[in-house]
Assembly symmetry: C2
Homo-oligomer: 413 residues x 2
């Protein structure tokens, strides 16, 4: 069954935000066995939205639309949907009740903007929003269905997963299977080189790549005569991917890198502390972004040299002779953090995130990081390319990778 | 003049890559004064590409298409373009010469894949590619034009800037102006309420909203007879928006909230330290994400109770009697961080980010934050709705707002 995605919003057609919703939906629908053949975007213009809805319903059996369900006057999707299908817009009392409960649970008072979000096309099936205020809804006309979801990515994803997917899954041809392998350590082209020729080895296999810096996902997608055959072939191909890429594959599915690292630390029964300079709190933030982070005792963001000395006991003399961005200081920071927090393991990062501050011998992007643990202390360094964010994320991931490799006794790269 | 963007490629409809081309083109076209009303994506299917081209040429005066110009068999764009316009595909000798020169300059030999890239629709105007091999081309039919550019972002951007923009610029209406106001403090529906009726006060005004939690952008967009009139009306309307929203408007254009807060601290000549529990480094990360963050001395991520006592001197007895999530502890953390780092101002956050750890009296989402500064110490608290990320970002922004209001002597909300 061919599926279309419709993204609604002038912020998209004006290039103000990147449409990550369509990208995510395309990936999810493909993974569920659907074939997406169109992903269209329209600005906040009532007539054009109406025309798009009508056109996509003529050419596709299923349409997933996002955006324009908010409380403000530029949110026109419900009106457009009603007009496209030739039905009235009516206040949906059950949707209104859910909105009221959500608003009041936050200690706020229902206002006309909130109430507007309960005005839905007649005969719409309400799709509850457990992650936000605006409900979604599903409409069916002449054999084709269209689901309307909020544009806020978190709400859209929750609603698609909880409400839409269970309703449409039975319509999927169900003869595909996809495995998403998560990698960190190689760039996209190196990953591609390692996997060259793989598609010819397995019937129906398509290998897809998705970069979200500094990670690269490998999507092993197989279409076969039945889903069970597809699953078997995908599993075999995934084993071969893991064999070729080795421990650069850190996980599968939705597992995030910092989460995997944290789990490895917990599994060792270690308590962790970090000391950060150029990453400025990012390392702590990544580790504590996930629940079950009680292995993490604390962190010191020692941005100024003074702070490195005062909190971590980095000798003033060392800072003067080697500079704050040096292996010596990274090691002293890690050992200082380990002492300060009385923990098993400490990780430290110091570098030049840019855009300024580089010199001929210490260019922007140079980062040293070190780990102090029961087996000793070691340090690594690299010059990360790109802008300030690239250097900070690159450095944080490199440090986390050293931590992971130390925790699970992998060879340190 | 309304413009459409067409992105061609199954890697897009399968969600394997994010369509940054359409986003970039939308921004460039908007900046040049065009109105983009559609940005459609189609998979590598000849019939569907033909249909898309024909449809967009019927509804728009200008279409910019990207992708499908490569050397492999799944690159169908030139064939589809010829078929859509009912012309033959012919080998273009000047395009072939340019391709040959580029290939040979790299020390490679022209192959059939390269030659295929010189097969263009009859009457196509060749758009030279100074950044890659595949030429682009421009076609005109019944008053509408369509430019075909390569999908490789670097080549597409170079060709658009060098070849397309000079050809189309004279057709831009250049009669619009937009001002983007950045707000923090009200939800989208409250912002909408404050701005109700604004569009009726100013001719040609459209007010747009964009939420990127916890911020809400207000876009004041005016279309008028000339650009200078549009600018004047937009400026007047922006003044009115600022009047209605007050100091909830923190900036304009691309200025980010943590950057504005940092600038306010720098302007006071203050040195800042932070102490974080539930935000786990996020506050430090946000402040140091921007250059010129030297006002930031350091931070302590005191996740465990022990760390709060050891680093910040929070009395063990206080932690036992009030709990780690309390106004008392937030204040002690802020004062401890101020002492520890010997700075003018310190900010502290402690709370329950969830998903577990809440109690009847201290639910998930409860956060206390405090500021210690030369004028004294004060604390605030709130129960933030949503998931772990929402609580953490909500808390970090609330703390930053207290810092900003203290620095610029705004009333503390």
């Amino acid at each position: 069954m061919t599926v279309a995605i419709l993204s609604i919003g002038t912020e998209l057609t004006r290039g103000e935000i990147l449409d990550t919703n369509a990208h995510w939906l395309a990936g999810e629908l493909t993974a569920a066995g659907f074939t997406v053949t169109a992903a269209d975007t329209v600005d906040d213009d009532l007539d054009r939205i109406v025309t798009c809805i009508q056109r996509l319903l003529r050419t596709h059996l299923l349409v997933i639309a996002t955006g324009g369900l908010g409380p403000t006057t530029d949110d026109l999707t419900a009106v457009a949907a009603a007009r496209a299908l030739g039905v009235d817009l009516v206040r949906n009392e059950s949707a209104l009740l859910a909105i009221r409960q959500r608003v009041e649970s936050r200690g706020a008072i229902l206002n006309p903007g909130h109430e507007k979000q309960a005005d839905l096309p007649a005969n719409a099936e309400v799709l509850p929003n457990t992650a936000g205020t605006a409900p979604g809804f599903l409409l069916t006309a002449t054999g084709a269905s269209i689901a309307f979801l909020p544009g806020v990515p978190r709400e859209m994803k929750t609603m698609f997963t909880e409400q839409v997917l269970p309703r449409i899954r039975s319509q999927s041809p169900s003869n595909t299977h996809q495995i998403r392998l998560r990698t960190y350590g190689y760039g996209e082209s190196i990953v591609g080189q390692h996997l060259a020729g793989l598609e010819t080895l397995y019937p129906g296999l398509t290998v897809g790549y998705r970069v979200h810096f500094p990670e690269v996902d490998v999507k092993v997608h197989v279409r076969a005569t039945t889903q069970s055959v597809a699953r078997d072939v995908a599993c075999e191909a995934a084993v071969e991917v893991r064999r070729r890429l080795g421990d650069v594959v850190f996980g599968e599915g939705e597992e995030e890198f910092p989460e995997i690292v944290g789990r490895a630390i917990s599994a060792r029964g270690w308590q962790l502390a970090v000391a950060e300079s150029c990453t400025g709190g990012l390392l702590s933030h990544l580790l504590t972004s996930f629940p079950a982070s009680s292995y993490f005792v604390g962190g010191a963001v020692t941005y100024a040299n003074d702070a490195k000395t005062r909190l971590l006991g980095v000798p003033d003399q060392m800072l003067r002779s080697h500079g704050a961005v040096s292996a010596e200081v990274a090691i002293a920071m890690a050992e200082g953090a380990r002492r300060l927090h009385q923990v098993d393991v400490a990780l430290a990062v110091t570098g030049i995130a840019g855009p300024s501050g580089g010199t001929a011998t210490k260019p922007v992007g140079l980062v040293h990081w070190a780990i102090a643990h029961p087996g000793g202390t070691s340090a690594q360094h690299r010059i990360f390319p790109g802008g300030r964010d690239d250097v900070r994320y690159g450095a944080a991931y490199a440090a986390l990778d050293l931590l992971r490799r130390t925790a699970v006794n992998l060879s340190v790269r």
